[in-house]
């Protein structure tokens, strides 16, 4: 059991060393910093500056889609097409371990990079380090990252092709955002606004700037549950396919 845990962490390390080699991590850091920080300051009020966390979220989503699509597709896709999965499956490693470690490594990288970039906003907006809306925003982003990573993973497992899956996931994710009503929960912007609005009202006793609708606890819970539930479903399907069905030749 200990050896299996060790193998899980060893696989995560393998994944990070292989797929974040130069210059991938550097490109990712630049893209993340650019998308998060290249935003104007909309709300000038010092005590309401936390509202700036909500603006520019659409631009963040665009780059997030590209970044996640590229890195997840590269990791899963090229390891299948180039035969690295075949090599790993020659060692005493469980298929589930390989799947879980790849996903965990990629998700962790995205969450850490985006959180680090987002935390610069604490200084830029002179927020209190314990400003709850900062952490709510990070939670909202993490949920969206989870959804994006899960969806891209499924697409790449089905297509087994790096390039096709990058395009397919980018089209799907960005397409959904642009087709659906931005205030609906089908859209990341809609879900983010609901979470932000509800917790903004609770913590600051006022609706966030620019949001006219008052969201309830049910709305906030629904907005958080949707990406969680969809991600969980996709990951279970992906894991079952990878562990029980996928053939490697």
């Amino acid at each position: 059991m200990k050896s299996e845990h060790n193998n899980f962490f060893r696989l995560i390390l393998w994944e990070l060393q292989e797929y974040l080699n130069f210059p991938m991590l550097e490109i990712l850091v630049f893209v993340v910093l650019y998308s998060v920080l290249n935003q104007p300051t909309v709300v000038i009020s010092y005590s309401m500056s936390y509202n700036n966390l909500r603006f520019g979220i659409r631009d963040i989503t665009f780059f997030m889609t590209l970044g996640v699509g590229a890195l997840v597709s590269r990791s899963f896709g090229s390891s299948i097409s180039k035969g690295e999965i075949k090599t790993l499956l020659s060692y005493p490693l469980k298929r589930g371990q390989i799947f879980a470690s790849k996903f965990t490594a990629l998700f962790m990288v995205f969450v850490c990079t985006y959180t680090a970039a987002f935390s610069v906003q604490i200084y830029l907006m002179r927020l209190n380090f314990f400003e709850p809306m900062f952490y709510i925003s990070v939670l909202g982003m993490a949920l969206q990252l989870l959804l994006m990573c899960s969806l891209t993973t499924i697409i790449v497992l089905l297509t087994k092709n790096e390039v096709i899956s990058i395009f397919a996931s980018a089209l799907l994710l960005y397409g959904i955002e642009n087709v659906v009503n931005p205030s609906s929960f089908s859209s990341f912007v809609g879900r983010f606004n609901a979470i932000f609005s509800y917790f903004g009202k609770i913590t600051h006793e006022t609706l966030p700037v620019g949001i006219g609708t008052e969201y309830t606890l049910n709305d906030a819970v629904l907005a958080m549950s949707i990406p969680l539930a969809i991600s969980a479903l996709l990951l279970v399907i992906g894991a079952i396919y990878f562990v029980r069905i996928m053939e490697v030749d």
Binding site: R10, Q17, E18, T87, L89, S90, E247, V248, D249
Partner: protein
Amino acid sequence: MGFLINTNNIVKAFGNSIVLDKLNLQVPKGISGFVGRNGSGKTTTIGVLLGLLKPQGGEATIFGLDCWHNSFEIRKKIGVMHEITAYPESFTSIRFLEHVAGFYGRTNPRQKAMEALREVGLFGAKSKPIKTFSAGMFKRLGLAQALIGEPELVILDEPTANIDPSGRSSLLNKIVELHKEQDISFFITTHMLSDLEKICEWLSIIEEGKIVDQGYVKDLAQRYSANLFKIEVTQPHQFIEKLKTMKLVKNARIEGDFVYCKVHNPDEFYVELPRIATQLKLQLKGFQRVVGTIEEIYEEIIDEK
């Protein structure tokens, strides 16, 4: 006899194309060869044995364990070198082998990695990225990662492909050495029969997804190259011209001062041989039956089937 590898009527198809057609492969301990033409199903067989491909029918076992359902348990005891390998090219060889040693649960993976590199003569390249390796170094690295887990069985898929003759010879000698010193069994797939000549004890021959024959090389040689004769005669060129016109003779060649010829019916040939020599006014100095090479055994078997 207990076999390390045993398949029973394995069927594997890709779409409408049947690649393995009721394959019955048996491989005992020792150094075994698995030969067949390109596209005969060798690599697919390896895929089934390693649990990478699920057969549509039949069962395959290694160490008595089912290859698809108990793949994880099997992989604890085997090492594999695939024909087309994908090692992480940004890694140095030491880092790669350290990970592999860790996967096998070795307590001091770095030290194990160093030992493995020394074993295959790559210690000097331990800090080089794998992407800078030559084909020969790649193969040696492949052998190192296959051996690092101290396996009982090592599966090598086309180990000598794309490397120069001295590299091939060195690799094959290493296999023999490891078998003798550490009692590791090897299962080698190849279409280069000459490579197996000196090292192989057991041979399995696959053709169109079926095992056409298998057994110890000496037994196969007895069965299939009993019809090979080595003849010493004056004027061998004149003699061979006559032999080639005879229906009794399958083929004939000259090597040095000797004529080697394969016949359909050795008993009939025994009678005809002195008569031909007399007819051509040649002196028959001597003749004997010889054991064929693996290549000759293979050709004989394929011709027969």
